[in-house]
Symmetry: C2
Subunit: 240 residues, 2 copies
DNA sequence: CAGTGGTCTAGACCACGGT
DNA sequence: CCGTGGTCTAGACCACTGA
């Protein structure tokens, strides 16, 4: 508990718990000690510990399950891009699109990628290009940049073994959990190569979703650019 | 406090406070009685009242000001569309675009509009069409539908007196405060008329922002469709 | 059944804002 | 200075979960 003394106690507790989660002292899908137990350990009132936990629940780092315990939450992105891109829903249940890795290589980071990933320009990054399909129809084309540091193992695994979802792969092979992300939306016009890959006409509008994904320690782990047909784009926002 | 007995007390308190706000017993920008005062009135513990208030703060209905009191919050949408559409920022401070009412008329609600506004098809609605400009350049074209019931007065005011923002107008003239809204984004191609109004080419992509705005009682008050150049579109989302 | 989080109470003291 | 919300404590009892 070597955090800034001026901060409220529940904030310092929150930071300490967050650090423990980032250090994987408690792992995703694992229960923390009970509230009373933690309060006793830290010698604070149960209500204060409760508030610290509550904060992390709101931030999405923890999850409470009544009668069972408090668990480290792993971000679930399976529905994320599909909040943006409408696709045929077979009965309403979420379908995970097939993934086709088109390219994998190691390369030095360009200036923009380096800035996004908070590394030095020229540092090694892993570049992936993949296509995602639903029932054989191209939905998205994605480009992905990962810092080599924690992801080197991905270069040694055959791309056929990657599977359809990358984040479980990162966690399984590289012990990197994605905690949250920022996404940026914009609209562009399809160039020749992209049009061919998405099976649309050159010049048709495409929606670009750029995503910067962070670990529990708040450091950027992945930069991703996905493109899909604007026709299938739809999105809902709450405004207050 | 005639709410469902099975609900937690703080929930029932929240509902009761929300009703009072909807009934304009406390008006926007007005301070509520203090927490201790309210707790005493309702004969509950201060902590419980605090939690009820906290809930409404999170929901955006109330706003706390340390040392001053708790205030009814009015939604502020001045920056809303401009989170989507980038425009020339003169020095960074938010600019309110000029508003040009192109059309105002009373008409029977079509099926879709009626569904959005939760009224019967054929009921009278007010239809507005306006253009919004920044430094003379067309930014957006908007279509707006309002139920005649609380908004009839708008038909009697010269459109020149509407001003650049509609929500203050609604509040001033019709005693209708907008509490929150849902926005839906999609991409379309500009038709002839729209292209002319936005000063772009026919077939250029445009972003469509459809907004359903609600009052404090949760009832839909306004349905709006705004269209702007996709080139200027950009948006950021947080994912967890 | 024992153990967990969920609700609720009843205070104390502090920091801030306006008079 | 007083009144406000912000923090923190120290309990009690309930509802849910899994063994």
């Amino acid at each position: 508990m070597q955090f800034d003394e001026r901060l409220p106690l529940y904030q310092r507790l929150r930071d300490d718990l967050a650090t423990k989660i980032a250090e994987r002292i408690w792992k995703p899908d694992e229960a923390l000690p009970s509230e009373l137990n933690l309060a006793a350990q830290y010698r604070v009132a149960p209500g204060t510990m409760r508030r610290a936990i509550e904060t992390l629940v709101v931030e999405g780092m923890l999850e409470r399950r009544q009668g069972r315990g408090t668990y480290v939450r792993r971000a679930d992105f399976t529905g994320s891009l599909f909040r943006f891109f409408r696709h045929v829903e077979a009965g309403g249940e979420p379908v995970i699109p097939k993934s086709e890795i088109l390219l994998r290589k190691e390369q030095p980071a360009g200036k923009d990628v380096a800035a996004k990933l908070a590394i030095a320009a020229g540092d090694s990054v892993i570049y992936l290009k993949r296509r995602r399909l639903i029932e054989g129809a191209a939905l998205l084309v994605e480009e992905i940049w990962l810092p080599k540091r924690p992801f080197a193992r991905l270069l040694k695994i055959p791309v056929e073994d990657y599977g359809d979802l990358l984040y479980p792969l990162y966690e399984r092979e590289c012990h990197c959990s994605i905690a949250r992300a920022e996404e940026f939306l914009s609209v562009d016009l399809a160039q020749t190569a992209l049009a061919r890959q998405l099976n649309i006409k050159v010049g048709e509008p495409v929606v670009v979703v750029e995503r910067l994904a962070f670990g529990f320690d708040g450091r950027p782990l992945e930069w991703r650019r996905s493109r899909g047909r604007a026709k299938q784009f739809h999105y809902k926002v709450e405004i207050r």
